[in-house]
Symmetry: D2
Subunit: 400 residues, 4 copies
């Protein structure tokens, strides 16, 4: 079925509200750490993006909903003015949630006005609307991971949604698929149809050495074996920075695992906290909420390594691969760098991706929290090596 742009927009915006629905106004206001944002802030910021990037420049006569929002809900766009400090987003008890919802409605109405005459819109405006929608899809995922982190800070470990249907693990024999060396093309052409972020461009050639890659993700049972083999204590398995963090922060398992004797929910067995609350650890489910350091140490322990983002992209087009999308983001060995010939998008959205191209690692694929239609085999997600609050796991690779 083909949705009109207006329908697409409306569906997207409704979906964000649906994701926020299990959370109270209190849940939606609080910020649990500087890296995470309150739900209410996500709701407002995604609207701010449409307001400042689309409506103000391109809808004649548009009047801003509230002049203070330009400051309150800018994330990091220096070109769009000063902004409220990120670690203090959770102090914004005002505007109340009800007003942020009214703001969304106001922006929606204006956007609908624009989209009702979509044929009159220039390709530039359409591209910015596409960007705004993909931007909101990114925040739909963050809304869930940030909310989960907040709930995990509560000693009572409340569920985001008891009835949530999470993907389940299933038995899948691990197979090593072999890829021969060769010149391949990666990324997206600048003028390719369909949406892509600037960091996926331009399409370009790379020489990739022969490699093997696992046809499935590492699962919780395998990761538990790593823990039980003293994986967190054996310095030789870890990158130096990772070792330091393990010692400093006392890491002994993935972020949301509860040890058998955890005082919050002692069960005599390992459990995992997730969007559906505390559940018994499922050995066949993909391991999640790992840092890059942990993924790398596990791979070392397993006698393998992480794939590069290019190996992942090559393999992603092969039929025998499982769970490339929709379960967990997969850490790669690749640092987040510009592609050869990369030119950032122009205008206010120039800052969208390029200015983060140092000090982060690329993740490929997508997760259970990634919106449908937001996945691509060229998609480049990125987080610092220490980040654990995303749905991040791994897939193994090997030299031949």
């Amino acid at each position: 079925m083909h949705l009109s742009r207006l329908d697409q927009f409306n569906y997207l915006r409704q979906h964000t509200l649906k994701l926020a629905a299990p959370l109270s106004a209190e849940d939606q206001c609080v910020q649990s750490m500087p890296d995470a944002s309150p739900t209410k802030w996500h709701l407002a910021h995604t609207s701010w993006f449409f307001e400042n990037v689309v409506l103000l420049p391109f809808l004649p006569g548009y009047e801003v909903y509230d002049v203070s929002f330009a400051y309150l809900f800018n994330s990091y766009y220096e070109a769009l003015g000063a902004r409220h400090p990120r670690p203090q987003r959770g102090l914004l008890t005002r505007p109340p949630l009800s007003q942020v919802l009214a703001y969304r409605h106001y922006v929606d109405t204006a956007m609908q006005q624009l989209l009702r005459h979509v044929e009159a819109l220039s390709p530039q405006v359409l591209a910015l609307i596409d960007l705004g929608q993909n931007h909101e899809q990114q925040h739909q995922e963050l809304l869930q991971t940030d909310a989960l982190h907040l709930l995990s800070c509560n000693p009572t470990l409340p569920a985001y949604d008891d009835g949530i249907q999470l993907t389940k693990g299933y038995s899948q024999t691990l197979q090593w698929l072999t890829f021969e060396e060769g010149l391949c093309t990666f990324g997206r052409a600048v003028d390719e149809t369909g949406f892509g972020f600037d960091n996926e461009t331009p399409a370009h050639q790379r020489f990739v050495q022969s490699f093997q890659i696992a046809n499935r993700l590492v699962n919780c049972g395998e990761y538990l074996a790593f823990i039980q083999d003293d994986g967190y204590e054996r310095a030789e398995l870890w990158l130096s920075e990772g070792r330091a963090q393990v010692l400093n922060d006392g890491w002994q398992s993935p972020l949301y695992w509860l040890a058998p004797n955890d005082p919050r929910a002692a069960a005599g067995q390992w459990q995992v906290f997730g969007l559906g609350g505390v559940k018994a650890l499922d050995p066949q489910a993909p391991v999640s909420n790992l840092s890059f350091y942990e993924a790398s140490a596990f791979a070392e322990w397993a006698g393998a390594r992480l794939p590069t983002e290019f190996e992942w992209e090559v393999a992603s087009q092969h039929p025998g691969m499982h769970d490339m999308h929709g379960q967990v983001w997969q850490w790669t060995r690749s640092a987040y760098e510009p592609y050869p010939g990369f030119v950032p998008a122009s205008g206010a959205v120039r800052e969208y991706n390029g200015k983060f191209m140092v000090g982060q690692q690329v993740l490929r694929g997508s997760s259970l929290a990634t919106p449908v239609h937001h996945s691509r085999h060229t998609y480049r997600n990125f987080f610092p090596a220490s980040a654990r609050w995303q749905f991040s796991g791994l897939r193994l690779a090997k030299d031949i």
Copy 2:
């Protein structure tokens, strides 16, 4: 009019809710700094106190409302078990406000059951109920100062209550009242009737040298003159720790003053943020929200000094003194120490006061946020020298 104990209790508990009423569920949930607590936490903790100190030991058959609350809402009573870390009180989006209100109601009902047969209660139980009520009155004041701090972190500076009637400044000529040296009695006898905290006991003698003390508080106009005379830049006026803090934190005025060019509310003149929102600075209003360091530096600049808590207590019984109570707490030169012969209260409430007797300064009097009937001339409030978020000002004294 004489209120029964039951009526007193009901009035007290209602008053706390009335103070919380101007705040949304979001406002009541967020914690703006480790020193401050969310309103919702105050609502729950004061109920927790009655539940754990009065109901559980003394109401036969009482069942706790929720077992997790013993952990969540303990403040610092080691004897009553483990507790949620203070800096993370704001992460408790659950239980929701509605449930905390239900908790209050549940506790109230049980307390009412007890108080309906007040004649059957032992002096010990009555004393603990008195303590619980005075404890809640203390939190009534903190609820307001903590809420004000939270609102001050919002760039839009919303008012707690636009219609609030704050005390106003008035013209009052400063006079120096003279007190001759002599032996005086301070504090409260252990067996004195009426309520007092353990830190006010025992009554004891001290020799006080002759001194002079101002009949009124230092006002905003005088403090502005200090600022304009470069008071914050002149090292010789400051205690060494205070000087370090001024430089480190960039202090240039009391906590809630807005300079004429403040970007949040530029007005071309000094303004002050308070419970009623942003108002023009009133030169005759008492200066408030000072640290001890600032109070001390001002006194030095004025060729005077802060009174000791004992000078304040002597003077408090003198007719010509203005605003000893009900405007701002008054920093004294006295560190918070036990009185000679001090013995902490026994049982769980042993930790109420004594364990804080180091590293803090005594403030005397009471403030506009102190509940009626909660003031006494023997009352000893205490905060670290750097604290500025209380309604704290000063009164000058001099040697003769």
Copy 3:
């Protein structure tokens, strides 16, 4: 024997060098923590004091040794200009030790020139010279405690001086001496002959309640019993701030005690590191290197309390008291506050004491590292409640 002022001065200055002698140029250069200073800095700063406070104002024609030293070796005198930041004193590898010694010699020569005509010197100059000498005596003690701290940071635990003769413990039955309440005079008159610091003035009356005080110090055997009775784990014994520090810093014994299994010098028994190196714990030696928090918790455990500084001063003039001086400084329950009528010294030395009169506790007595003739029963030493690197112990007191 009566020493001339010139002889006194020469002896003092030689003694400082003698104390530095066991330390290499490397030892004398390094700073082990922000609170401690390098020996070389002590050597230079004490000379800087004479240069800036005595020679420059009062020796006609005196030329400063090196203009950069005014900046490098000022400690905290704002009136004498900008200064090198305290935590960075250890980065001053230049000037080298040899040049600092030459600086000392240069200053000594000029001072000797002044002191050879002592009869020509005004009382003001003589008082400043006295102050400079007492100042240097204070630094003689700090030189030792700072050096000991530095050496304690070395895993090999080198001795400051193997042959050092430390005071030894001896059997002394504990007796409680009783003092009746009454008005007493404390401190020193402003015009009293002999040297005293401004913070000991003025002489003034206080009313002291009846009390008991121990005739001897708490010893290591007693403190070990406190440790073995889980003293560091029992929250009810500790001030709230002390408890937080114990948990945060992992304190389990006095600063320089080595547990029987300490990896640096495992001996199967408790040992103590001191100026003479690592020695077996002597149960009868006074316990030392305690924070105020630990002293206070021990007293609580022992069913007693710390004396006030005034109780100590009253008792100090009584014949039956042992070890009031020359072993360890004794923490008192008294915060460091100005005496009634206190007026700081005038001129550059105004900042000597008064600006520290907040947030610290008074210690009375003197220690094994205090120079002879630097002890007085009116002497008020002061450190923050958390300080442990001084030779600080305790004596118990009780209410009656």
Copy 4:
């Protein structure tokens, strides 16, 4: 001339001492920041490396000089036991410099014994000796950069060596050399003769897009123009992390530049502090002591970008390139990652390079402080993006 292995070894070890010679024992002991190490530590650690990696395993009957040194002078080799914490290296005033020199002599004597019968040594031992020598050469450079940092912390800005002959700038017209796209081979074969680190292996193919690269380094005059064009204030030029650091640390110029009004050496013109002391800024000298962030922002300002490490390696073999070596290390756009097929060296030296392969950027070339014969066009140096205390500059590149 061909030096025997013994002569090479002796020359190397003497050269380290020669580099330390301008520094006093005090200079050699102090640590100015956690990233930098004291000279004495470098002297000891390089000897420790020979002792533990070569002598203990391969010289029969070798006895360690001092058992405590295994702990004190291990840098980061987990497989070789526990180690003294890096930020506390500067607290090791013992062993004294004289003893460290004796340690060096002792190790030298044993190594000479081994090297006198070089024909009897296995290839494995020879490779470890080579590694030890290259390791010491790396520390020769660090010794200088760490010493310079220490001296820069002294307000008097003493010169490391007044008479040092630093390379001088010279007029060199900037030319853009063009390289066509193609498959090229990078790195070193595992079995290539001559020394190389494991991180330079294996030789492998990459496809490199067409690019242009500058034939010379960016010089101080150009960098000054960037500063004067408000380069440090213009957010759009900076990576997000870099912008945050500029604001947080107040960066306004390269690390050792002194603004015309710098209080330490006000000269009315820009100056630069270096190994030879403070000198007037030479506009034609290569800019140095930049972070990656600054290099990247400058390139953006100049309408160019940093080269990848592979572009640099391609260009390095081209005749028209100037100053690829011997002036400043050149930041590249490449994150420090393993080459395809990378296998770390085995045994204790396994930890030499591989465990740092995350969160750092590659620098290529070599600097004025790099020992002769330590440069290679395949050499991969690496530091965090924020590091500024190395002799690090840049060369521009461009897409075509």
